[in-house]
Amino acid sequence: MKLNWFTRRGIIYVPAAIAGWLILLLAAAYAVYTFIDIDSHSHSVSDTMINFMFNLLMIGLVYTIVAYCTEKRVVKDSTDSMI
């Protein structure tokens, strides 16, 4: 089953369908929630930023894996061969 939800620009996946935009919004909303949660527990700005950055990277990784599996594949991709 081909799902064309994302297109790749370098290492960043950009949504190309409504489902892709929904996933991006969900990830962004979760990132904001994580930031508020961490900020309420932390003792300093660096504490917040170190923990939030780690969580943001984890969210980015999960988002990228989802986008990797559902990206729009160009015909050029399938002929990645060496002669």
């Binding site: 790749r8 290492i11 990277l57 991709d77 061969s81």
Partner: protein, 151 residues
Amino acid sequence: MKNEQDFLKQMENLSIPDVDPSLHQQKVKMTIMNAERSAALGVWLIVLPGYFLLCALMSAFFHNKAIDSWLFGMLFRDLLSTRASILDSLLFFGLPIICIIINLLAIVHVQVEHISPTQRKYKELSLTIKLKFWNILLIVISTALLILFII
């Protein structure tokens, strides 16, 4: 006698077919995964352990106590202690291994074939590595991270 000389002259003047011996080696070698896609995902797979390593180094040099808290601090303490949690193993062992695998599958082509149709008893293994800079760099960084976390 004359016929023989004519024949010899004719044979000497025969045009030799021009065969390039390197041409028969050219064949399409498909890799299992796409190199650019693997590199794009590979970057994300090593950013997380890389960031963790950077923070650990900063903590060691600057004696920063901020990493003692929350999820990051918990992972850090677990990693330093003798018992590493499942999440630790997944993040710092699983991710670099996945990165190595997907990037290797994108640049390596393996083929086992008979040396010739007449000699079917003997086989040869052809291993071709595509020289893609980013994929090779990611494999090297992942291997370094893996070795570092194992040690």
